[in-house]
């Protein structure tokens, strides 16, 4: 029977991976991941209006040019290659400048004195101003106005500097249990950890679809009768669960490989204007993972987390297999699959909320519920909300439930795979649960 089990697993895995669509899909995923992770370089490579220098001509009737230029240049420089501006004072009249205003990358800014509002501004451009330019302009002019107001009030330079600077807030937290890196962990949990959860969400979706399609295929062709006359339903069920889980692990491995290659390409291409920011972000994030102690927790809990993922994959595979055995066609299965997807969604949203509702008893309880725990328990463990022992308990619970699902699911599976009618389906299912 072991040989037959191995053969069935091999066949099932081959059926999923040795297809042109699997290869095409993975080539596309590979290309898309490289593209997404190098998007800034792609954008820079193809160029566009954002790379053009916008000439800003100032007609200054309010004696505010120097102030404006300083403010505008400071703001524009922080935009990196999102916007390049050249500010220039013009001695020409508005009418003369307007006559030459035929290019898209030119703006005329007329700063005029105002009785009630210190300054007012008219702008002229060939096309409507984009949002970014408008914001830079607005902020710079607001600063100019503030400075003019302050200067007008006869304040000293020191007073002006003190007025415009931020108030220093020195925080002291007295809770001895509180992690000193809690803030960094918050950022990690609200962003990065959830990004890592998404692939698992997608893999589970893939897992349930694969297993359902395969069982329905065998059922609808009645090939199931020949198969089950030669191998026991238990071996058949096991082969489906193991092969689907292996497939998901292979797919996860390929995704990790794709991401590594994409980052290697990124490194080879070197920094661009934007990528320096992205690289900086990645570097900062890695440093944050290390400094906040998340890396230490991750390394410590990794075997348990992986085991929890494995048990969860198996549990989903078992449930999907049982549901597929109960249905007589793929359309019925897809309908039954919906609640399974909702369970996944619930787990995902609770994982998102874990950072907002820190220490929530409800979230802690849910972290022990199998099929949800793999999304929540690792997140709150890395946030320091549960200990490694609690993570282990959640994993053991998932393992036990996985076994129980297999034990009772097999009874349904035995009856389901040879059932071709939806008549009295639930009666048959409940009856099969009682039979050994």
């Amino acid at each position: 029977m072991k040989t037959k089990l191995k053969f069935l697993i091999g066949q099932s895995l081959k059926k999923k991976t040795d297809t042109k669509w699997f290869k095409i899909a993975n080539i596309l995923i590979f290309i898309l991941l490289i593209a997404v992770l190098n998007m800034d370089r792609l954008i820079s490579f193809f160029g566009g209006d954002f790379q053009n220098t916008v000439n800003v001509y100032i007609v200054d009737d309010a004696n505010a040019y120097d102030l404006f230029k300083n403010n505008f240049d400071t703001m524009a420089s922080s935009l990196e290659d999102l916007g390049n501006y050249k500010v220039e004072k013009s001695s020409k009249s508005i009418e003369q400048l307007k006559e030459n205003l035929k290019e898209e990358d030119e703006i005329i800014v007329h700063i005029k004195p105002s009785l009630n509002n210190f300054i007012e501004v008219d702008t002229y451009s060939f096309d409507p101003l984009d949002m970014l330019t408008l914001q830079v302009l607005q902020s710079s002019l607001n600063n100019v106005k503030s400075t003019l107001v302050i200067k007008n009030s006869n304040m000293s330079e020191e007073e002006i500097a003190a007025l415009t600077s931020n108030v220093d807030i020195h925080t002291t937290v007295t809770n001895p249990k509180l992690d000193e890196n809690a803030e960094g962990k918050d950022i990690l949990s609200s962003g990065l950890i959830l990004v890592f959860i998404i692939p698992f969400f997608l893999l589970i979706t893939m897992l349930t679809q694969m297993i359902g399609a395969e069982i329905n295929d065998e059922k609808s062709t009645r090939g199931m009768e020949i198969i089950i006359s030669n191998v026991s339903p238990k071996i058949h069920f096991l082969s489906k669960i193991i092969s689907a889980t292996l497939f998901v692990l292979v797919q996860a491995g390929l995704l990790i490989f794709d991401v590594i290659v994409a980052f290697m390409i990124r490194k080879m291409l070197g920094n661009s204007f934007i990528s320096s920011d992205v690289s900086g972000f990645i570097g900062d994030t890695l440093a944050m993972i290390k400094n906040t102690g998340v890396l230490h927790l991750l390394l410590q809990g990794l075997p348990i987390i992986l085991l929890l993922f494995l048990f969860s994959f198996l549990t989903y595979a078992i449930v999907a297999g049982v549901l597929a055995s109960m249905t007589t066609n793929i359309e019925d299965y897809q309908q039954l699959q919906t609640p399974l997807m909702i369970i996944l969604m619930v787990g995902y949203y609770i994982a998102i909320m874990a950072s907002t509702f820190q220490g929530s008893l409800f979230i802690k309880i849910v972290a022990y519920i199998p099929m949800l725990s793999f999304l929540i328990a690792p997140v709150i463990y890395l946030l320091g909300q549960i200990t490694i022992w609690e993570l282990l308990l959640s994993t053991i619970l998932c393992g036990v439930v996985c076994y129980l699902f297999f034990y009772f699911g097999l009874r349904i599976y035995k009856v389901g795979i040879l059932n071709y009618s939806s008549r009295n389906l639930w009666k048959k299912i409940f009856k099969s649960m009682k039979e050994k």
Partner: protein, 300 residues
């Protein structure tokens, strides 16, 4: 060899098979007959182990059938049971390995049978691309690849033309010679008559007729007389004592009589005509026996 003893199968309250017993010896071809829903497929499923009998026992070589024995059984289902996305070769490997065969043996056997069924060129074609008849050939080949000790054939000739029916029959006879015990089910009684030595007729899961085909036919009193004559007065013939009915087809007249004894009266009537070139008394066909035995239950 195969022994089915007093098996019963209930689906809820519905009795699908009712205390059925029969035995199939080595190298014997056994017919399991009945109208649709009579319990044939349920019986096959119980033999192969897909269903558990509510009561009774099924043994092969004195052992209850389990997964250690199913490798020795070949099963051809009534519906197509092929994985249509696979090629013929992949399908044979799939089912062959599940029968505990080695790949090399499967390949060798497959080549032999593909040649025998004149479909060698389809070896690497996907099953869904094949015609219904060729799919049936592949299904049959996968059922006999393992040289089964027991072969279950549920409607093996469906979708086949007469030439291919003959081809199947030849292979079935070869298997019988090799000692394979065969259980056979078909709605076509002429096919059953051609090879079954023993049979059971099921009505609503219960055996209404069983035994050796020859004995059954002998025991059935009604006979048919085949006559060739152009001038025979059929109206007068119908009035001869013991004649139940007279049918005329393009080539001959078939007279149905109550029993062998009535043949003499018919002969005395027929011999008055001088253009009679054929007068043969034959047993009733299995189809007639089947119709009468099964029909009674449905009339009731």
């Amino acid at each position: 060899m195969l022994k089915v003893e007093n098996i019963t199968k209930y689906y809820g309250d519905f009795l699908a098979v009712d205390h059925l017993s029969f035995e199939v010896k080595k190298g014997e071809i056994f017919g399991l007959l009945g109208v649709n829903g009579a319990g044939k497929t349920t019986t096959f499923r119980m033999i192969i182990g897909l269903l558990e009998a509510s009561s009774g026992t099924i043994t092969l070589n004195n052992h209850p059938i389990d997964y250690t024995l199913t490798d020795k059984i070949g099963f051809l289902t009534e519906e197509r049971s092929l994985l249509t996305k696979l090629t013929v070769y992949e399908q044979a490997i799939y089912y062959g390995v599940l029968k505990g065969m080695k790949k090399e043996t499967i390949e060798k056997k497959l080549d032999e049978y593909l040649q025998k069924f004149h479909i060698s060129e389809y070896k690497n074609r996907k099953i869904k691309e094949l015609s219904k008849g060729n799919q049936q050939k592949i299904q049959f080949i996968t059922a006999i690849l393992n040289d089964p000790e027991l072969l279950i054939l549920d409607e093996p000739f469906s979708g086949l033309d007469p030439l291919n029916v003959q081809l199947f029959m030849d292979v079935i006879k070869e298997l019988k010679k090799k000692g394979t015990s065969i259980i056979f089910s078909s709605h076509r009684m002429e096919h059953v008559e051609m090879f079954c030595e023993k049979l059971v007729v099921l009505v609503k899961g219960k055996s209404v007729l069983e035994g050796n085909l020859k004995d059954i036919k002998k025991a059935y009193r009604k006979k048919n007389i085949h006559i060739i004559s152009e001038s025979l007065d059929l109206q007068k013939l119908e009035k001869v004592p013991g004649v139940i009915g007279v049918e005329k087809n393009e080539s001959e007249i078939i007279v149905k009589i109550e029993s062998q004894e009535n043949a003499k009266d018919v002969f005395l009537f027929v011999k008055q005509y001088d253009d009679v070139t054929k007068f043969v008394v034959e047993d009733a066909t299995l189809n007639e026996i089947f119709m009468e035995k099964v029909g009674v239950f449905y009339e009731n």
